[in-house]
Point group: C2
Chain length 203, copies 2
Amino acid sequence: MKKTVITIARSFGSGGRTIGKMLSDRLDIPYYDQDLIKLASEESGIFEGLFGEADEKLRVGLLNKLSRRYKNEIVSPDSDDFVSDDNLFNFQANVIRRLADTESCVIVGRCADYLLGSREDVVRVFVHASQEACIRNVRDFYSISEKEAAKLIEKTDRSRSAYYRYYTGRDWNLAENYDLCLDTSRLDFQKCVEIIVSYIGIR
Amino acid sequence: MKKTVITIARSFGSGGRTIGKMLSDRLDIPYYDQDLIKLASEESGIFEGLFGEADEKLRVGLLNKLSRRYKNEIVSPDSDDFVSDDNLFNFQANVIRRLADTESCVIVGRCADYLLGSREDVVRVFVHASQEACIRNVRDFYSISEKEAAKLIEKTDRSRSAYYRYYTGRDWNLAENYDLCLDTSRLDFQKCVEIIVSYIGIR
């Protein structure tokens, strides 16, 4: 396979992460998800926990308090080192671009489709599923009730959606943002992987 | 191939009709697009032109005037035979459901994805393309200027979108309405057909 970067955006509970990992195994290429936080922290020198707290969500109020924490040092809010969520996004975006420059890989979430959209070697995938399927998946994965699963899905999707909108100016659930969208409630995860592999082969 | 009904929704200029026809040839199954108007007319006994005038667009104002025309007869507006656009939609919906009951086929537009969405044997496809690609396609197909193409696209998509929203309560460009969405500006129409065929085979 020629160099290919696959970005996977996903609605919560639709299996995006599982499919991403299976795809990475199937194609024998690296998988990046929360690992991006560690890489962005290493590259920027910024405390990893700070990236974690701003991961795919917009923080309101927390920002001023948390942004003063910089590698366990106290940083004055008017210092040049003042770390905003926008800076954190930028550091992570640089890591994503550098990865895409250097290797085939699977990148889940983090607006990677938007950041890499103009590249010829990028396949932008979006996976989604019916509400029933998402609730079932989340219930089983986290061993919680269906009611709790529904709440968690609603909260996570709302948060990710706001994050995506803030940094890209787009609605994340529009087909037009992606090369390939799949409803994972219509076929199992393994088959989704096969379809993505087939898409890459045909394109 | 076991019985499969493929519905294709499409943004104007993205090649949905061409892909639908190529798919119908490739799988050797019937293709329905504007032919649905003729079938709905035959089945309902209603003047074919009336279906044509309400085809994938919502009519405002025209409704009262046109709906009195019923197979070249004058029908009183307060008659039981009074034909509203909603009735026309229902006649067409019945034709679509009957076709899906009886044969494998490709159906383009007409909210078929919504009408048949709960069926196991239906593959709901949405094709879209970048604005530049749509303008290029429409310019070449209709031999008009890029400016005229852009205008026609804007008008047609707005009209189809309103029609879809009115009859389904959904936004037509959301990935969640479909099993498979493809950006046709990233690969040629023939490859799109191959991907849809591959999807059907894998699922």
